[in-house]
Amino acid sequence: MTALLRGELIKTVTTRTALAYLATGAAVAIVNVLIVTQFSVLDKEADKREALAGLPILLLLFGLVGAAGEYRHRTAAAAALVARRGRGRLLLARAGAYAVTGLAIAAAMAAVALAVGLPLLAGEPGPQLGSGDIARVAVGSLVAAASSAIVGVAVGALVRSQVAGVVGVLILAFLGMELLATVDEDAVGYTPFGAAALLAGDPGGGTLSWGAAALVMAVWTLPLLVAAIVTERCRDLA
């Protein structure tokens, strides 16, 4: 399994995709901090946490684009032909590799958000964020990033089309969640988008507790990954 993970990690870091997501993530983190601090009243701890919140959907797209790209570029077949442990474990290793890379990207995003955001938040009224709050946002962003990357890999392996996958996820994440919120605002937290946002510190993800959001994320991640592995083992590879 270690060999498979190493092989998949080499794949994730040897194209410009990971670097592009890293640069985009850092830029989005800065823009998010600036928008939230400049255009919102931040007199509550939750509002301040929102300024530092990660963007797990970016990591979901990272995993999705990478996993679906395996079929677009036919690299899935080349890997399956040499992987000793079978396709299922290979996809598991791929999910692990994207989770690890996603963690690195999320860590860089969190570092940028904290470096830019904490000095700006210090000047805001109301209670200041303690080290515990900051740690919770950082750790939550990392957990949300890793699990979102795994969900992305699972969805990418299931749909096998980068365009269809990305468009579908964006529609669900923005339009779908808005529609769901109009019906039942609390229900958003039970979706992977809402749970990941809550984990990452964004209160817009719903009203669930941090632990409940983590549980919801796990409940979405595991079945999706199992479905992707079962499908991968049964399908023909081009």
């Binding site: 410009r16 995709t17 690299t75 080349a78 032909l81």
Partner: protein, 335 residues
């Protein structure tokens, strides 16, 4: 003789059901029938069928590939070669039948030391360098990193290994695909149209490499839709058309199919009668009163003439070209 020729529409199984463990394969050098065990054949295909909806891409295909030989897997475009190869190496799942590679059913788990595969395209991300592509595959296969540089040198890509695959020419991608297949230094090579896009030097290198691989006991199954392209390289041939087996045997046997012996003699009727008694077929050829004898080789005709005290003025092998035989086997009308 162990040649098996099957017209599309008929069924031949070579006795390759689970309870039939042996088959005949023609020896490519001596043209003698070699009895090899089912278990000993590195690649055994049994009743392999692949349907896509109502289309049968591969239809009840059975054959075996022996070690120590290069076997050509031939058929026109759309014959089902690539689909069959994907079934054999485990990339696709058969609708019926099975393919055995060195014993177990293909595709359960890969082993780069055992099976090296090249099926177009080369399976490399265009934004990744050839070296990194091979590094990742070497890691997945549990092979040492040093093997990457070895195969890059082997296929002549070491100078371009740092460049992105997306900038490669078709020939360079072909070489990268071959490097991937050779990464584990496998005993068995399955190559789909490996000569496509290669320059003359590349073709020559690959032919030599494959011959040496077979000479050292390795097994090679390579597909092509151009018989002349592989005729110099292969020992045995498996010809398919519309997903079905139409011929399996040695390349020499294939060349003899449809051929005959042209004979000129002052006592034609006497020789013709002797030939018919010996099981041959005779027809008058051209306006010179010569006989075209089929079903006997030149040596047999010469010996027969000697036994019958028939004087021969001419004894010439008269064979159809390999391409003609190939076209005959895969002729749409015949199918």
């Amino acid at each position: 003789m162990a040649t098996v020729t099957v017209r599309p529409g008929s069924k031949t199984r070579f006795g390759l059901r689970a309870d039939a463990r042996e088959m005949n394969v023609a020896d490519s050098v001596g043209m003698k029938a070699t009895h090899i065990s089912h278990v000993a054949a590195p690649i055994v295909v049994e009743g392999l069928t692949k349907r896509y909806g109502t289309v049968r891409a591969v239809d009840d295909l059975s054959f075996a590939v022996r070690a120590g030989a290069v076997t050509g897997f031939l058929g026109p475009n759309g014959a089902g070669k690539t689909t069959a190869l994907k079934l054999i190496v485990g990339l696709a799942h058969p609708t019926a039948g099975r393919a055995l590679v060195n014993g177990p059913v293909a595709g359960v788990a890969a082993d780069a030391d055992l099976l090296g595969v090249y099926i177009e395209p080369c399976g490399a991300h265009p934004g990744r360098s050839a070296r990194n592509h091979l590094r990742s595959l070497a890691a997945l296969a549990g092979l040492p990193r040093s093997r990457v540089d070895e195969v890059l040198a082997l296929v002549g890509l070491e100078q371009a290994a740092g460049g992105r695959v997306g900038t490669y020419s078709a020939g360079m991608r072909q070489r990268l695909g071959l490097a991937t297949a050779l990464l584990g230094d496998p005993q068995i090579l399955v190559l789909d149209e490996p000569l496509n896009g290669l320059d003359p030097q590349g073709i020559r290198w690959l032919r030599t490499f494959l011959r040496e691989h077979a000479a050292s006991g390795g097994t090679v199954l390579l597909s092509s839709h151009v018989l002349s392209e592989v005729a110099q390289t292969v020992d045995d041939v498996v010809v398919i058309h519309k997903g079905r087996l139409v011929h399996q045997g040695s390349i020499d046997e294939l060349a003899r199919l449809g051929g005959g012996v042209l004979v000129s003699t002052p006592t034609r009727e006497r020789l013709a009668a002797a030939v018919r008694r010996a099981g041959g077929r005779v027809e008058y050829h051209g306006g010179g009163g010569r006989l075209l004898i089929e079903g006997l080789d030149p040596a047999q005709v010469g010996e027969l003439a000697h036994d019958e005290r028939v004087v021969l003025h001419e004894l010439t092998p008269h064979g159809s070209s390999l391409e003609e035989v190939f076209f005959t086997l895969t002729d749409e009308d015949a199918a």
